[in-house]
């Protein structure tokens, strides 16, 4: 019995060794929401051994329904090990102790950087494609990205629409945030940048209504699970301000730069901003 179990184990080790020798990892685990999206976009479904728990949440991930078909992990090393990964993809930020432990145990861990622009996202696609042995899929994705980007850039609002991103508990994103990059790509400008907000700041409703943007970007409502932070976004004063400047709703997880879904966010944002620009009184 014991010998057979050992034999099975050896066979498994041999099989994974052969598979990695072929350059294509067969059991990939993601420890990062961006990596989740890349795996769902580029990997063969059979290659995915685990995604983060965030990917299953409609708050964070547009592909949450798809993500629920795979096991989920909470970035604890023991949980990851149980999935017997031959490749773990993590983010440069977060997941520190788990990554260190996995490496010590001999698991291959690759790190994603936070890209600054769409050139960075294209590079990210190629890199993930190379790790997964899916270079061709990555190349064709990059080609589609460039086509979509060209369409967005050709139809951006001119002059850019003054936008303010307001999220739960009064947080506003500033110059160094991913939000500003998304808005600028989509044909807007972030008024919080002009008001000196660096990365993020809490802004009171009093200040907010004096900034007078042309459009607000608010987080999408989580259905059936309220919070006081979400309730603030329904404050009568904000609702009144939104009657002059429309509120565009964006998934909380979409306000991030990196991964294959950024382009979709920019596309929908660009459509909304163009609609705002067309309603401008000359």
């Amino acid at each position: 019995m014991k010998a057979r179990a050992l034999g099975g184990w050896l066979l498994f080790v041999l099989a994974t060794a052969v598979a990695s020798a072929g350059g294509r990892p067969q059991r990939v685990v993601s420890l990062n929401l961006t990596a989740d999206q890349w795996l769902l976009e580029l990997a063969e479904p059979g290659q995915i051994a685990g995604l983060t728990f965030l990917a299953r949440s409609p708050v964070y991930c547009a592909r949450w329904e798809e993500a629920r078909r795979f096991p989920s992990v909470r970035s604890a090393a023991e949980e990851v090990l149980r999935l017997r990964p031959d490749l773990v993809i993590a983010g440069r930020w977060g997941a520190g102790p788990a990554v260190a432990m996995l490496r010590r145990l001999g698991v291959r861990v690759e790190m994603l950087d936070a890209p600054e622009d769409f050139a960075g996202i294209a590079a990210e696609a190629r890199q993930v494609g190379a790790w997964l042995g899916r270079a061709e899929a990555a190349e064709s994705w990059v080609a589609r990205l460039e086509a979509r980007l060209a369409r967005v850039r050709a139809a951006r609002a001119v002059p850019p629409v003054a936008v303010l991103g307001y999220s739960q508990n009064g947080w506003v994103s500033g110059a160094a945030s991913a939000f500003t990059r998304l808005v600028e790509e989509a044909g807007g400008r972030n008024v919080a940048v002009e008001r000196g907000v660096g990365w993020m700041a809490r802004v009171s409703l009093e200040e907010l209504i004096r900034w007078q943007p042309e459009a607000f970007v608010l987080p999408a409502v989580v259905s059936g699970a309220p919070s006081l932070g979400d309730e603030l976004l329904a404050h009568p004063v904000l609702a009144r301000a939104a009657s002059r400047a429309p509120a565009i709703r964006l998934r909380t997880g979409a306000v991030d730069f990196g991964g294959p879904d950024v382009i979709a966010t920019v596309e929908t944002l660009a459509v909304d901003l163009r609609a705002v620009a067309e309603r401008r009184t000359p």
Binding site: E206, I209, S227, V237
Partner: protein, 330 residues
């Protein structure tokens, strides 16, 4: 009697004066002319929105809640004949928080916003009932305070648990609001939700006034004067639950107001429980907006929570009272 009337008038005037001054305080500094524009300007002027729709509801809500909590504290101290009794200390506020949290985070308020104060009132009533059951009316000072401590620990843990279990990632951040209340970003909607309950509860508590006055002469004397004790107890529990539930549903648990205000005012009414009730309501209406605007005027940046301020002022006071009571026994 005339002296008490003057005191009430003075406290009422103070509350109105503090309320008006509080309208000038907020994260945006308004010059005098801007302030005038805010008060009298056109209805779509952002300055007018700031004064009428952000600052005024906050001041009004602070006054309503302060009045309710001051009154509830004075009534509890009078009925239990315990100087340390107060909705926050005895766990009634945290019971109200738990009730509101269970209703709100299970998504029931989408059906009707009134379910939120209803839940808070049920929680406060549960806490008050448990308190009476645990400590009894004639219990010692320590037994009552210990029962309150136990209830606070239990309700605090259950509130945190309920928030942990919410699928909304922002719910966990709300723990602070429910355990250490605040008046930030409140609107007329919240005033509307709290006011009817706090008013009804206050009426119940004020109706206890004559009975409390008789009770201060001892239970037997009170009975011989025709005081119906079970009815008084029932009115007091209902009144406290309505006041604390209504207040906590929109502002979280704000502690120690019901301790500070009656104790400061007690010497001024010569310890008359009925006059103290009215004075504590008016004093609370002045105190809470004052505490709220002082912090806002003094600290520019992330808002300091009102519940933290009242606890910082009230907790040392509570300890000093405890020390005084201990000396009295020994």
């Amino acid at each position: 009697m005339r002296r008490a009337a003057w005191l009430w008038l003075g406290l009422g005037g103070l509350a109105v004066g503090i309320g008006l001054a509080a309208l000038a305080v907020g994260p945006t500094r308004l010059t005098l002319s801007e302030w005038r524009r805010g008060v009298f300007g056109a209805s779509d002027d952002p300055l007018r929105v700031i004064v009428w729709e952000l600052r005024l509801p906050r001041v009004v809500l602070g006054a309503v809640i302060g009045a309710g909590l001051g009154l509830a504290g004075a009534a509890m101290q009078g009925f239990l004949r315990n100087p340390l009794a107060e909705p926050g200390v005895l766990g009634v506020s945290s019971g109200a928080s738990l009730g509101a949290v269970v209703i709100f985070y299970s998504g029931l308020t989408a059906a009707s916003p009134w379910l939120m104060p209803a839940g808070a009132i049920a929680g406060a009533a549960l806490a008050a009932g448990l308190l009476v059951a645990l400590a009894g009316r004639d219990s010692s000072l320590t037994a009552l305070v210990l029962a309150g401590m136990g209830l606070n620990a239990l309700f605090g843990a259950l509130t945190t648990l309920a928030l942990n279990l919410s699928p909304n990632p922002f719910a966990t951040m709300d723990v602070l609001f429910w355990l250490m209340g605040a008046l930030s970003d409140r609107s007329w909607t919240h005033v509307q939700l709290a006011l009817p309950f706090v008013m009804t509860g206050a009426a119940c508590l004020l109706a206890c006034g004559p009975a409390l006055r008789a009770l201060s002469l001892g239970e037997d004397t009170a009975r011989s004067l025709g005081v119906n004790l079970p009815r008084t107890r029932w009115l007091l529990v209902a009144g406290t639950a309505l006041v604390v539930g209504g207040a906590t549903a929109v502002a979280g648990a704000i502690g120690f107001v019901g301790l500070l205000v009656p104790h400061v005012l007690r010497p001024l009414v010569r310890a008359d429980p009925w006059r103290l009730l009215v004075a504590s309501a008016l004093g609370g209406a002045a105190f809470l907006p004052l505490a709220d605007s002082l912090v806002r005027a003094w600290h520019n940046g992330p808002e300091i929570r009102l519940g933290v301020v009242t606890a910082l002022a009230g907790a040392p006071f509570f300890l000093a009272l405890l020390l005084r009571e201990r000396r009295r026994w020994s």
